[in-house]
């Protein structure tokens, strides 16, 4: 009896080993696919969030509502900045995401045409030294009477 079982056990053990080894090899490729799917979903979520915030900012501009952004001077254009953490909550200093709003103006006889360039960036992480641009949009707003009496 023992003589008949032993060869089968060896075969079974060999089959198990081959199975585990094969599964380990296949897992590498499957894990890569799962990681790629996760990265793609994360970037889609990031873009969606940035789009919603950008749209909301532009609607505030269209409605002439005051913007709750930090003002920073940069060259000829006025720069307004807002910082967001990884959960997309507003924070006071540079964290994970930065929204930059460049404002330039062009004078007309009756008022001024303000052009806004909005850029969303992801702060550099690890060895990267440059911020990754997520989104870029622009719009303009004409304000009658602005700068007329200056």
């Amino acid at each position: 009896m023992e003589n008949r079982v032993k060869p089968h056990s060896n075969v079974m053990m060999l089959e198990l080993v081959i199975t585990v080894a094969f599964f380990a090899i296949i897992s590498i490729f499957l894990l890569k696919i799962f990681v790629a799917a996760d990265e793609s979903e994360e970037s889609a979520l990031m873009l969606s969030k940035a789009t919603v915030i950008a749209e909301s900012t532009f609607e505030y501009i269209s409605a002439d509502e005051p913007l709750d952004l930090t003002s920073v001077s940069e060259g000829d254009s006025k720069l307004l900045v807002a910082y967001y953490d990884k959960e997309w909550n507003r924070c006071d200093s540079a964290s994970v995401y930065t929204m930059k709003l460049y404002e330039t103006e062009k004078a007309y006889t009756t008022g001024k045409l303000y052009t806004y360039e909005l850029v969303f960036e992801k702060e550099p992480k690890g060895e990267n030294t440059e911020a990754t641009r997520i989104l870029s949009m622009s719009t303009s707003k004409y304000r009658k009477g602005d700068g007329v009496n200056e």
Binding site: F23, I33, F34, A37, S40, E41, L113, M137, S140
Partner: protein, 151 residues
Amino acid sequence: MNNKNSIKANLGGPSIILIILVLALSIFALLGLRSSSNEKKLAVKTAESIADYYKMNARAEEILAQAEDILATCGEDTAAEQLSGIPEVSNVTADGTNGGISKVEYFVVSESNDRTGLDVCLTFNGKDLVPSKWKVVVKEPEEGYEMILLD
């Protein structure tokens, strides 16, 4: 005899489990990848269409500024001519008080999709040009156009 049968039945079991497991994981991985790539495509398209709208909006605001400028600096006789010189302006109505400009209509075409545009109508109230229409218009597809539902 019984022992022999039970050992035979166990042989090949791990292979079958492996095949089922690998198949299931592959299906889930591919479905996940497909779903996330579709989500990304949708997010990119949404961002592009919103950016496109604000680009049209920017051009419309620029024309509004130009129109206000023309009305403030030019005489009533040359204002209509100057306004008509702006490429997007489709119609200038001059039936206001003393033959002045009463309405300026223009259409800003989207850069990415020529079937979409911003239709604007500015009405002159004697002092300012006030937008009475500021609407995104999508033209009907031409005959023979096939809508692609699946990418």
